[in-house]
């Protein structure tokens, strides 16, 4: 089993719904505007602004960017305490209570996907009571990032076990895939031939970010064709 994600840029409108859904699902701290301007915005799913071509044929577009969940992750290699590791199902997981906050993984990640809790996470009044109970709020001083909503996987596995069956496609969907209004984000098992992601990952339009680094990301983008 190897969880992976396909993002179809033909379908993606750049609305940013995935980023918002992710932020709420995972209790990602909301930093104030001053902090945000310093570059301390915390987004597990970020929207990358891509400029294509040159004026007057310039095209600006926003593409979603989760953690790539590399098969050869540069971040786990350097972690001194195994607070980040590649689990058996291909998810690059984080162990928050073990993280010492050295930020070596952040420096080593070529996609710059990790966020750090510079202060104790805070939520606007009212929101603190509305956090997702399935996801722990991280303490100050640790690194965090997209986990492919691993807590949802645990729930899905329990449910499947309860119903005495195997995990079906669609049982486990991260918040971003769930919320995408155009169905541009498809999630599933890359090694399972029945899953849609397996077929899409072999599409001629498929490409990976910074593929030449050999990190083997499990997030695959489908190029736009005009």
């Amino acid at each position: 089993m190897k969880w992976g994600m396909v993002i179809d840029l033909q379908k993606c409108t750049g609305c940013g719904e995935c980023a918002a859904a992710c932020k709420l699902e995972n209790n990602v701290a909301i930093v104030d505007s001053g902090e945000s301007e310093m570059g301390r915005t915390m987004l597990w799913m970020d929207m990358l602004t891509i400029y294509e071509g040159e004026y007057p044929r310039l095209r600006v577009r926003q593409i979603p960017r989760p953690c790539m969940h590399c098969d050869h992750p540069p971040c786990t290699k350097v972690c001194p305490v195994r607070a980040t590791y590649l689990n058996d199902e291909g998810i690059v997981a984080q162990i928050y209570p073990q993280c010492i906050g050295c930020r070596y993984c952040m420096a080593a990640c070529p996609y710059t996907v990790k966020s750090f809790n510079w202060y104790k996470p805070e939520f606007p009044p009212g929101m603190a009571r509305a956090t997702n109970p399935d996801v722990s709020v991280r303490p100050v001083g640790v690194v965090e990032k997209c986990t492919f909503c691993i807590h949802r996987l645990q729930v899905a596995k329990e449910q499947a076990k309860f119903e005495a069956r195997d995990l079906r496609e669609g049982d486990f969907q991260p918040a971003c895939a769930d919320s995408c209004p155009t169905g541009a984000i498809v999630f599933g098992d890359l090694e399972n031939r029945d899953h849609q992601v397996n077929r899409l990952a072999h599409s001629p339009r498929a490409e990976k970010l910074l593929e030449d680094l050999g990190t083997e990301p499990k997030v695959i983008y489908l190029k736009e064709v005009d």
Partner: protein, 448 residues
């Protein structure tokens, strides 16, 4: 100190700072303590609120703390390494220099070694390094090599200090219990001297590879990632060269300060400065050679991400620092030290201070630009260190000065027994050695 002044010592100038420290000493100590206390307060504030009080953010997630870590550990390479090389190569002029150099190492290493801990988001979880440590991580290699270096260099500082402590004990300098305890029953017997020599020889040989490994491994922290500007094979030797370079500059500054303050003109003569500054000049040229190779290969490879970091340093936001570094580390010291007219004490002082500043900037230029230019198109700002980071930098320097002052208050900064030994034996040993180099007289001419 009535007891002490009763017997004039041939090296009274070296004992003077210990026996009569003077008022000025205490004023400076109090001044430094104030700075250190305030730094402590600033650090506690950082512990309380989190690393948010620094200027670090995304993507520049490493700032002053890591820069200063590399810088301080670099300075530490002056001491033990240089002293071991000079002792091993039997350079007779080493005698007044080795102790001063070794003290730099011990103090600076302790300060530098603390920096990664200051940089941690969760210093309370430091024990995870021992219980859950991953030996595959270069950070763990660092913990190991810095610990080894610190242990070896403090022992290497202490062992040759024993006969001097015994001199102080015999002169009845207070606090007596301290000297009596630390002198370890040294009586100066032949056997004791033999054991001392043996121990020093073993340590000398051990300390050199450890010292080289320390800065190589610090460079590995950067070189083991795939980030542009860091992922370089020459980083190991490049860092070691830079470390020795900044270290020699630090020794020279300290020697000049001590010579002035303690009136050691009789011990630290022009020839010592001349030799060491020529070593500084050579290191400056080697440093330039490494820098040149590093950037030229990057430039010719022309990998787009590499080039963004390259231009960021050469003509972008970091250009002022980059070119200032070239001037401080290469242009100015080479210009001053090449010419025997400017290779005077003030000239050497200017060159050394310029090298120390330049090497600090080099660390800045290695750490920040690679982080400030992520591969994917993120909005990036410029890293501006906060008041906290500046204070901890200043505090680190203050701890160094204070540590050195405390050492100089209790122990001689120039090895008294080695100077004495030099007076009695050097000339004979050197003559014997030189005679042994000379070709033997030919038997035919000897027969005639």
């Amino acid at each position: 100190m009535e007891h002490a002044s009763a017997r004039p010592h041939p090296d009274a100038a070296l004992l003077n700072p210990i026996e009569n420290p003077g008022k000025m000493y205490y004023y400076i100590v109090v001044g430094l303590l104030v700075i250190i206390l305030y730094t402590g307060f600033v650090y506690v504030r950082q512990l309380w609120y989190g690393l948010g009080v620094t200027g670090m953010a995304q993507p520049v997630t490493w700032g002053f703390y890591i820069i200063n870590f590399v810088f301080f550990i670099g300075i530490s390479h002056a001491g033990t390494l240089i002293s071991a090389i000079l002792r091993l190569s039997k350079a007779e002029w080493r005698r007044p220099i080795t102790r001063m150099a070794e003290v730099i190492t011990a103090i600076v290493l302790a300060i530098g070694g603390l920096h990664p801990i200051i940089d941690l988001g969760r210093p309370d979880r430091i024990s995870h390094l021992f219980f859950n440590g991953r030996l595959q991580s270069p950070l763990l290699w660092d913990v190991a090599s810095i610990t080894a270096y610190f242990t070896a260099s403090t022992i290497y500082l202490y062992i040759p200090l024993i006969p001097d402590i015994a001199i102080l004990r015999d002169r009845g300098v207070k606090p007596r219990w301290l000297y009596e305890f630390l002198a370890w029953g040294w009586q100066g017997t032949e056997r004791q001297h033999k054991v001392l020599d043996r121990a020093m020889n073993i340590l000398m040989v051990m300390v050199i590879p450890i010292a080289v490994s320390v800065h190589t491994i610090i460079s590995y922290i950067f070189a083991m990632t795939v980030q542009p500007g860091w992922h370089s094979t020459i980083f190991g030797p490049y860092f070691v060269v830079g470390a020795i370079f900044s270290g020699i500059a630090a020794i020279l500054v300290l020697m000049i300060v001590f010579r002035k303050v303690f009136h050691l003109e009789g011990y630290l003569k022009h020839i010592h400065f001349n030799y060491l500054s020529i070593l500084l000049l050579i290191m400056s040229l080697i440093w330039f050679y490494f820098t040149f190779s590093e950037y030229l290969t990057g430039f010719y490879g022309h990998e787009p991400n590499e080039m963004r970091v390259f231009w960021y340093k050469f003509a972008g936001d970091f250009a002022p620092y980059f070119w200032a570094m070239i001037v401080c580390n290469f242009a100015l010291p080479v210009a001053l030290l090449c010419n025997s007219k400017t290779r005077t004490i003030p000239g050497i002082l200017i060159a050394s201070i310029s090298v120390i500043i330049g090497m600090w900037m080099e660390r800045l230029i290695i750490v920040v630009p690679s982080l400030a230019n992520p591969r994917l198109p993120y909005p990036t700002g410029i890293y501006i260190p906060s008041h906290t980071e500046w204070m901890l930098f200043l505090g680190g320097i203050s701890v160094f000065i204070l540590g050195y002052m405390i050492f100089a208050r209790f122990f001689p900064v120039i090895s008294i027994w080695e100077i004495e030994e030099g007076r009695h034996e050097s000339a004979k040993i050197v003559t014997e050695r030189i005679t042994s180099y000379m070709p033997d007289p030919e038997p035919s001419t000897a027969g005639e």
